[in-house]
Amino acid sequence: MIRVVLPTHLKTLARVTGEVQLQVEGPVTQSAVLDALEARYPMLRGTMRDQQTHKRRPFVRFFACQQDLSHEASDTPLPDAVAVGAEPFLVIGAMAGG
């Protein structure tokens, strides 16, 4: 089971509290996790990545295991600790004013 932590605004939008737990088929990649997340919560489509190109939105970052994975290719396997559910995959709203 993959654990995902959403930023507050996306938790509110998806009407969830706490971590989201997802079943991901096949290799656990950034793309696979986001596919599963958007399938479960369609209202999140377009909020983390472009709906057509799947390019990450500029002020959204992906962290896990104390690493910034935002610039990794979307089909790169996530760390084993994420794949086995020991560590969460963090969706972050980048720190910026406003």
Binding site: H9, M43, T47, Q52, V60
Partner: protein, 371 residues
């Protein structure tokens, strides 16, 4: 007794204000969607409980929210705004070519007859339509693909389609306005468009009388007189008596003819309201005083309305979608400020009071008059 509902979009959430027809006591609900920019909310004329809201964020993009119970509960609907075909380019601020790129929805205009049909005016400028309550959106591409489209350039706020007006007497006719391209009219439900900017003069473009490039800020129309349009342009308050074929200046006697909002009294089609703003760069009210100006003669002769409005040390702006009128008699006029106040008049503008204050910066105000 009639009721009035005011929908307020702000920089950090949405608010819904309700009152009876006396319009003296207001119940405020919100913030809805706290922390998000709410560019616009509007109710369906065909079903007043059906509301649409544009929710956006620099972080998380565009969301469209829909309510079926007058704003008590909301559900996110479709947010896929995909330009038709290969979008091409428009002009950027520096004159370079820039690919068309969706940024946000500025204005939502529900159909006059069908609660599930709604139009969206977006940045970069284009018009989208949904016929399933906002679940799916299709671009009315004939507008963006108009011959002058590649020459359109953004105003300071972006290349935004901010005004959508439907003709109650002809379901095929609509007007839209874009900053800074100008005004366009369709006679076939949005398939083809015609630029209608004759008479406009803008010193900020190379040819002041060009057919495109005018920074139109807002347009208003009385529903009983769809051939008569009133326009607040970047500079100039303008009027057309032939559905936009030709515009003429009606704002010469205003203290400044710069501003953003313009609206028409519900019961007096020749009574027009504007709120002059000091410019070029100040963008606050002149003389530190908040004053609405009213013309009872369709322009040219204007009177300052200040009863109840602060007249000292006021440096506020009022954005283009932040004035609206109700349909009661006497007419109620409402506007929201950059300082978070929503002012209302229940007597055609003769006197004003803040019906809520200290909200985040107000981006839009719309009014529903309910039975």
């Amino acid at each position: 007794m009639s009721k009035v509902r005011v929908l307020v979009g702000t920089r950090k959430g949405a608010f819904v204000l309700n009152s009876d027809g006396k319009r003296q006591n207001w119940e405020v609900s919100g913030p809805h969607f706290a922390g998000w920019e709410m560019y616009h909310l509007k109710g369906s004329p065909a079903d007043p409980n059906r509301l649409y809201a544009s929710q956006s964020s620099g972080w998380f993009g565009q969301i469209i929210q829909r309510s079926n119970d007058a704003g008590k509960t909301w559900e996110p609907v479709g947010n896929k705004f995909e330009y038709a075909g290969v979008p091409g380019t428009h002009q950027w601020y520096d004159g370079s070519l820039r690919p068309w790129e969706f940024k946000r929805v500025w204005h939502l205009e529900p159909s006059l007859n069908d609660p599930d049909t709604v139009y969206a005016g977006v940045e970069d400028a284009a018009l989208f339509k949904s016929t399933d309550g906002g679940q799916n959106w299709e671009e009315l591409r004939g507008l963006r693909e108009y011959s002058t489209g590649p020459n359109w350039q953004p105003g300071a706020g972006g290349l935004c389609l901010h005004t959508i007006i439907q003709d109650p007497s002809n379901a095929q006719r609509m007007w839209i306005a874009i900053s800074a391209a100008g005004t366009f009219r369709t006679e076939d439900g949005g398939t083809t468009w015609k630029a209608i900017n004759a008479g406009l003069k803008s010193e900020g473009i190379p040819n002041p009388n060009a057919d495109e490039g005018h920074c139109v800020h807002h347009i208003a129309m009385h529903p009983d007189r769809p051939g008569v349009l009133f326009m607040q342009k970047h500079w100039d308050v303008m009027r057309s008596d032939n559905a936009g074929d030709y515009w003429y200046d009606i704002g010469e006697t205003l203290p400044t003819d710069f501003g953003f909002v313009i609206d028409v009294n519900a019961n007096q089609p020749e009574t027009v309201y504007v709120l002059p703003i000091k410019s070029d760069s100040e963008h606050f009210v002149p003389d530190g005083a908040l004053r609405v100006y009213r013309s009872r003669r369709g322009g040219n002769e204007w009177e300052a309305l200040c009863n109840g409005l602060p007249q000292k040390d006021v440096y506020l702006n009022v954005y283009r979608d932040a004035m609206a009128v109700d349909r009661l008699d006497p007419c109620g006029i409402y506007f929201g400020t950059s300082g978070g106040q929503v002012y209302a008049s229940a007597d055609d503008g003769d006197s004003w009071t803040a019906i809520v204050r200290d909200l985040p910066t107000v981006l839009s105000v719309e009014v529903q008059t309910l039975p």
